[in-house]
């Protein structure tokens, strides 16, 4: 494997990792506040659909992005309504949201465009273009550093850079702001937060809505940057891989980045090589596809570094009377 191949592989790793990272950080906010979210997949999907549809109608991808975020936030609010206000089962609500997105996108898409659930191809300003960073051309010929900068770091859409910027931002919000302290506290011990006179409901709704914004960006990235339009079920289980990455990262922002990159790399390798032969032994492509899930189960089992979820996760908070 030569340098150029490795670079290409890493480039597609970044592309595959971006939606995972966004969704993973989204889940991080929600679950750190004590709201389990297995509806990441559905929120990504509904955002992908609305961002592509609105971008197709208006020809402006930024309006598409906003529409995608709005749609994803509506679903997030629904999840909040079910799991915070009505104290329902958060897992069941997540399942419902996934199905609602899978159904609504095709039903509405069929009705609006009559393309069998697809949206029209996005062209021109309907898509996010790849950005060439400054000096990318100039230093492209410098050995080693040049290709890494101009091929790997430069030449992605704005959403990719946003996703990577959200990692330190999330770290800062969670560990260096009052809001972040409260958010982590409602996920561990909501009664204590309530005693301190802080609204548990408000903290949790904020977290769930931030989750909606981030899954919204993730969905828009899928439909308007990675692809040129919406396809039926285009999130293709990424929301669940993001969930796996979140557990793998033990609900921490920097680890979320590493986990997303690892799973992105697995995806890139799986897409590039059908079967990998190591000597006599052949690793089938299906094994590569299943590897993120297998790794997550291993981590969950606690044989290699135990992943402990936020303590109040999944429990609706009932105020003491």
């Amino acid at each position: 494997m030569d340098f150029a191949t490795i670079l290409q592989l890493l480039d597609s790793t970044v592309r595959s990792a971006t939606p995972l990272l966004l969704a993973c950080l989204a889940g991080l906010y929600s679950e750190r506040s004590g709201i389990f979210d297995i509806g990441l997949e559905g929120k990504m999907l509904i955002s992908a659909f609305f961002s592509a549809s609105v971008a197709a109608f208006t020809g402006n991808v930024w309006i598409g992005l906003l529409a995608g975020i709005a749609a994803s936030m509506v679903f997030a609010a629904l999840h909040g309504l079910a799991s915070i206000t009505f104290r329902g089962n958060q897992l069941i609500s997540g399942v419902a949201i996934n199905f609602l997105a899978a159904g609504m996108t095709v039903v509405l898409g069929d009705s609006w465009f009559q393309l069998g659930g697809r949206t029209p191809q996005l062209v021109g300003d309907g898509r996010f273009r790849d950005i060439t960073l400054p000096f990318a051309e100039a230093i492209a010929d410098v050995p080693l550093v040049g290709p890494i900068y101009s091929d790997l770091i430069s030449g992605h859409s704005i959403l990719v850079y946003m996703a990577f910027f959200f990692v330190p931002l999330t770290w800062w919000v969670l560990y260096r702001t009052r809001f972040g302290l409260r958010l982590r506290a409602v996920g561990e011990n909501p009664a204590a937060v309530d005693t301190a006179g802080i609204s548990v409901v408000r903290a949790r709704y904020s977290a769930v809505l931030i989750c909606g914004v981030l899954t919204g960006i993730a969905g828009a990235y899928l439909a308007t940057s990675l692809a040129a339009g919406f396809n039926k079920d285009m999130s293709a289980g990424r929301g669940f891989i993001a969930l796996a990455a979140l557990i793998f990262a033990k609900w921490r922002p920097w680890y979320a980045l590493y986990a997303s990159l690892l799973f992105g790399l697995l995806d890139a390798v799986g897409a590039r090589y059908q079967n990998i032969a190591i000597g006599e032994f052949v690793i089938p492509v299906q094994f590569m596809q299943a590897l993120p899930y297998i790794l997550t189960v291993v981590i969950l089992a606690g044989f290699v570094g135990k992943a402990i979820p936020p303590r109040a996760g999944g429990e609706p908070y009932v105020k003491e009377r």
């Binding site: 389990f36 297995i38 629904l78 309504l81 079910a82 799991s83 009505f86 104290r87 329902g88 089962n89 958060q90 897992l91 069941i92 609500s93 399942v95 419902a96 949201i97 996934n98 199905f99 609602l100 899978a102 159904g103 609504m104 996108t105 095709v106 039903v107 069929d110 009705s111 659930g117 289980g237 669940f240 969930l243 796996a244 557990i247 089938p284 299906q286 094994f287 596809q289 299943a290 899930y293 297998i294 997550t296 189960v297 969950l300 089992a301 606690g302 979820p309």
Partner: protein, 363 residues
């Protein structure tokens, strides 16, 4: 707990939930520009208006009874087994191996063998998440989701590399031998007007038997009592000397086994070969069915029938109203799960208040 009479809990609230779900679905149909009333008529006529429709409705219902019972048994131990999809796929593998490698002299023996194979494979696929939950405290919901994906990858690998018939491009097993062919409704009762190719087959009776079996197990055995006690209060159950590891393992194995049994209907009874996605989402429908049926076998049976009607009616709807796509089914299913499962308190609290004030007036 006795805020309202029992009939309100088991019948009125699910009914209101269902009405809400259908009302929102009707709004969606209206938005698309079709008449919801007409759509409902098409669906009812298509699903129960003819022997042809009944054949499909009951075939789908058979699938959903198995997966619904699977989810329900786990619910009784307060566990959310979301892995019915993977367990049913593995059940399909069990059925395929039993049907392909053993020369069955008669279908009744084949059915018995396939039932055992499906149950063992389904239970085995639930065993690892169950063990991890019981011994290591790994969240069963996450592990079962992961196992769904692992099952689908495993099945694709096996169908492409192991079971595929040489020379056949399609990743599927060979057709099962004649001895493993289950009689369908036409063979059993041709006078009812079923067509020769109806998918409804004798597995329906196995599903009914499974309902009775689950009812006996949950409400008439010591084990069932322990499962319910554990689901009601874990500390209480432990205090009473109930072993949580044993309860988690047994209830999940039964749950996985029941989901696996779905394959005798879909793989052995209908397709007569194992294809790449033998479950087609029925594992997830099981969640909606168990929620609607309040985890009771009678409720599960009725809810499965309802979803069978929805699935068959939805297929007819797509045929007669092309503007309404088949995915409308997913929307209805999602809304049923949402209203009966997640937003249950939205209906329950006001209804309980009404009953409370009625009681106060009487007093």
């Amino acid at each position: 707990m006795d805020k309202m009479p029992r009939w309100a809990d088991v019948a009125l609230i699910p009914f209101i939930n269902l009405v809400l779900a259908l009302a929102v679905s009707a709004l969606v149909v209206l938005y698309i520009g079709e008449s919801p009333v007409e759509a409902l008529q098409v669906m009812i006529r298509g699903s129960v208006g003819s022997a042809y429709g009944w054949g499909f409705t009951l075939y789908y219902a058979t699938n959903f009874i198995f997966t619904g019972l699977g989810v329900a048994v786990a619910f009784h131990a307060r566990m959310f087994n979301i892995g019915g999809e993977g367990q049913a796929a593995l059940g399909g593998l069990g059925v395929a191996m039993v049907s392909l490698y053993i020369p069955w002299p008669h279908w009744s023996l084949a059915l018995l063998g396939a039932t055992i194979g499906a149950a063992i494979f389904g239970a085995a696929w639930a065993a690892i998440p169950a063990y991890l939950q019981a011994k290591r405290g790994s969240h069963i919901v996450i592990t079962t989701i992961m196992f769904n994906f692992i099952a689908s990858a495993l099945l694709v690998y096996l169908l492409v590399n192991v079971f595929r018939v040489p020379g056949n491009m399609a990743p599927e097993t060979a057709r099962f031998a004649e001895g493993a062919r289950l009689p369908n409704a036409y063979d059993v009762a041709p006078w009812l007007g079923f067509s020769r190719s109806t998918p409804l087959n004798v597995s329906f009776f196995v599903a009914v038997a499974a309902c009775i079996g689950v009812w006996l197990m949950i409400w008439r055995t010591r084990l069932g009592y322990e499962i319910r006690a554990y689901g009601f209060s874990e500390p209480g159950a432990v205090y009473a000397g109930i072993n949580p590891v044993r309860i988690i393992m047994i209830s999940m194995l039964v749950s996985g086994g029941l989901s696996g049994l779905m394959a005798i209907n879909s793989v052995m009874g209908e397709a007569e070969r194992l294809v790449i996605d033998p479950v087609q989402g029925a594992g997830f429908v099981g969640i909606a069915v168990a929620l609607m049926g309040r985890s009771h076998p009678v409720g599960v049976f009725l809810a499965a029938l309802l979803f069978g009607m929805l699935y068959q009616g939805g297929a007819e709807l797509e045929f007669e109203m092309p503007a309404v796509s088949r995915e409308m089914l997913l929307v209805i299913q999602a809304l049923v799960i949402l209203f009966t499962g997640a937003l249950d308190n939205m209906v329950r609290t006001p209804v309980a208040r009404v009953f409370l004030s009625l009681r106060r007036e009487r007093a």
